[in-house]
Amino acid sequence: MTEGHDDIDDRSSAGRRDESRDRDGSGTDGQRPWQGERTVEPPNSGPETDSADPAVTSERRLQDESTAAVSIAEEATGADDWVDLGAYLPSGETLLSGEIPAEKLHEYTTDRRSLNPLVQIRWALRVIVTALVAGLVSVWGLGALNVAPLWSGAVTGALLLVGFVWVVLHYRLWVYQIRADAIYLERGVVTHVQSLVPYVRVQHVDTSRSPVERLLGLSTLVVYTAGSRGADVSIPGLKPTEARDLQRRVKELAIEAEGDDAV
């Protein structure tokens, strides 16, 4: 963190110096900006420009801050209750720090949440379809073996029973949490999986709604990473507004994390 701060100071002061150079015309075009950063102010630049410069820049900064304040106000009064993060931060620190300040983090993170109970209906529908298909197949299969069709009914019934138990358990075990540095997911009845998806690695975030989900008023959040093994993570059973809200949070956090995708 301290390193990051070093960086910021370095960069912002360099920017100011470049500006001053442009104004007094002593900056040569052939010189690269980063070289200017290292060199000391040219000695021949007049003392009065030197003294005037900080005043000008500070004025500028004041202006910047006031425009930032205006933009905050605009954002806050706008229909969108989401406020641009950058506006909150002291100038200079926005883009470079790559971190949301600790006191703002809680606006993004969530507690451990479970899914909307309606998702059970969605899963149950899937179970029913699967059981019916299996039942039909078993009618055909057992018929070939001359077993009474009653058994097919039994197969279907047993599958339904197991399926419904699975649905309830699956729902109870599903937990997600938006953490400060990663999305945390916990799910699975037969194989219980806990995974962390760091924001730095998020490629893009989708919300999707299948016809069944639309009927139930649900939505799914899908988070894509560059990972190889089925690493695309989805959170089913969210209310559409909730899904969009999560999408926004993850998006903002991913932007703030501003890492490379390691590809």
């Binding site: 390193e3 990051g4 960086d7 960069r11 900006p33 980063w34 470079l96 790559g98 540095d181 990663a182 699975g188 037969v190 194989t191 219980h192 999986v193 806990q194 995974s195 962390l196 998806v197 760091p198 730095v200 690695r201 990473t225 560059a226 990972g227 190889s228 093994r229 690493a231 993570v233 501003e258 890492g259 490379d260 995708d261 390691a262 590809v263």
Partner: protein, 495 residues
């Protein structure tokens, strides 16, 4: 720029067999349907067949000519642009800094013609981003050079960069490679096939008492093993003949192959994971191979087969070479708890049980395997098998890398730098829960096929797994942040 015109005849030949095949097959089917087709009309059929073949060939020739004529590529300062397509045109721009590998492939016929295929791989998409089929050999090398030049920015590059030879495959190593590269995935299948097919035959022809304790099946399996061994040995020697790996500034370059020559580059900055693989034979003589995985598709072979960067070398040398790429320290593996081994005993016992049950049901159905229950004797193999499985598992993590190892037939040691981690997860099946075990999966963007790329610590203590989960994640965050700052530092002077 266009493709080389010599690629037209090659491409025609390449596709001709398909056309001929389709025509012949359709002809066969049509005569089969006709049924009453008498001997008198066969001459007529032949003429029709030949004319169809000729027609097909002509169509292919025209198509290929048009394809080559309408395939253009150009090199702009930042992108590699391709304009292609006969009817539907496609323009594709590939930014240089997104290119993962550049490979040149040349088989015997292409070499005779003096042409080569160039493949540019990026991390996106499911297939090779650009395949230039085919350009002149010198042009291929030029493209390769330009891509690696543009990637680093021309300014900071001295033209005559030196090649630092990392590895040359000598003839004794090539021999070892031939002897040790057996494809065990196939072996298991073949053995199973012959045991299953062989036993009923044995039951009829040899004494029924020996039916289960097998004869013909295993004998056939043994023959098949040897044949497969020889074949895969020859294949490996042909593939890796003349292998040479050099480090050229910040990329690795390799060349290999006798009949099909490959020549590729792997940028060091694109390396995802390293994997050291030692199959059981190689391990016995202290050898192994090293695979370097990127997010681009594995060059050379199909998508399931990862390229090995070092096809064969002594174990110590492998680790030494791996350390020049990723600087990991001494590894001291932690093994999963002993109760994991108990789990494998249970699992293999179930497998043996199923096998015996199968033999029993064969007996019920055919009455040929009176001694089917002797299959239980196979259980003596279970404890050693479980032990071997367990003994080859391991995981280790230091400040920069998480390293996992697994596999008896082919032991894979995967080295994953924290800054390449994409996601981390712990999974626990119901069977693992009973024994308080869990599996840690560290996912990366590497595209190394089914086995590749992911650090998997199998069946470790669930508490340890959860702890490791957090540790890996934290260290990953740390290294990602560190990398970000150093990158910012290093990028700034260039801008």
């Amino acid at each position: 720029m266009n493709l080389d015109y010599r690629s037209v005849p090659y491409r025609i030949l390449e596709n001709a067999y398909r056309i001929v095949g389709i025509v012949v097959i359709s002809a066969l089917f049509s005569t089969g349907d006709g049924g009453q087709g008498s001997a008198g009309s066969s001459g007529m059929d032949l003429i029709v067949l030949v004319s169809f073949v000729l027609l097909g060939l002509a169509a292919v020739a025209i198509w290929e000519l048009a394809y080559v004529k309408r395939y253009e590529y150009s090199i702009s300062p930042d992108t590699f642009d391709i304009y292609s397509g006969v009817f539907s045109r496609r323009e594709r721009e590939i930014p240089f800094d997104r290119i993962q590998n550049v490979d040149i492939a040349q088989n015997v016929f292409q070499r005779a013609l003096g042409i080569a295929e160039v493949r540019l791989e990026t991390a996106g998409g499911g297939e090779t981003e650009a395949r230039l089929r085919y350009v002149e050999r010198q042009e291929a090398t030029r493209i390769q050079e330009i891509v690696s030049e543009r990637k680093h920015g021309e300014s900071e590059r001295d033209p005559g960069g030196s090649d630092d030879a990392l590895f040359d495959l000598d003839s004794s190593e090539l021999t070892v490679l031939g002897l040790t590269s057996a494809n065990f995935n196939l072996f298991g299948l073949v053995v199973l096939l012959f045991v299953v097919l062989g036993t009923p035959v044995a039951a009829e022809q040899v004494s029924p008492r020996l039916a289960v304790l097998l004869f013909l099946g295993p004998a056939l399996a043994a023959v098949a093993l040897v044949v497969l061994w020889v074949l895969s040995g020859i294949q490996a020697v042909l593939r890796y003949y003349g292998f040479r790996l050099v480090r050229h500034e910040d990329e690795l370059r390799y060349q290999r192959g006798l009949l099909q020559q490959y020549n590729g580059t792997i940028p060091l900055s694109k390396i995802q994971t390293l994997m050291i693989r030692e199959n059981v034979i190689a391990r016995a003589v202290g050898y192994g191979n090293l695979a370097i995985e990127t997010a681009g598709y594995a060059p050379g072979q199909g998508s399931d087969d990862i390229e090995s960067a070092i096809p064969i070398a002594k174990q110590a040398r492998l680790f030494e070479l791996a350390r020049t790429i990723e600087n990991f320290g001494e590894i001291s593996f932690s093994r999963p708890p002993k109760r994991a081994r108990v789990r494998y005993v249970g699992r293999y016992t179930i497998v043996v049980g199923i096998l015996v049950a199968l033999l029993g049901s064969v007996h019920l159905a055919t009455g040929t395997l009176a001694d089917w229950y002797l299959g239980v004797a196979l259980w003596v193999l279970v404890p050693p098998a479980a032990h071997l499985k367990w003994a080859n598992l391991g995981y280790y993590c230091d400040d920069n890398y998480v390293i996992t190892r697994s596999g008896f037939w082919t032991r894979r040691t995967t080295i994953v730098p924290y800054y390449r981690v994409q996601t981390v997860s712990v999974s626990q099946t119901v069977f693992q829960r009973r024994r308080r075990l869990g599996t840690l999966v560290v996912d990366t963007a590497s595209s190394g096929g089914f086995w590749g790329g992911n650090g998997v610590a199998l069946d470790i203590d669930i508490e340890a797994a959860r702890q490791l989960h957090e540790t890996v994640h934290d260290r990953f965050q740390l290294s990602a942040r560190e990398r970000q700052t150093t990158k910012r530092r290093s990028v700034r002077p260039g801008d």
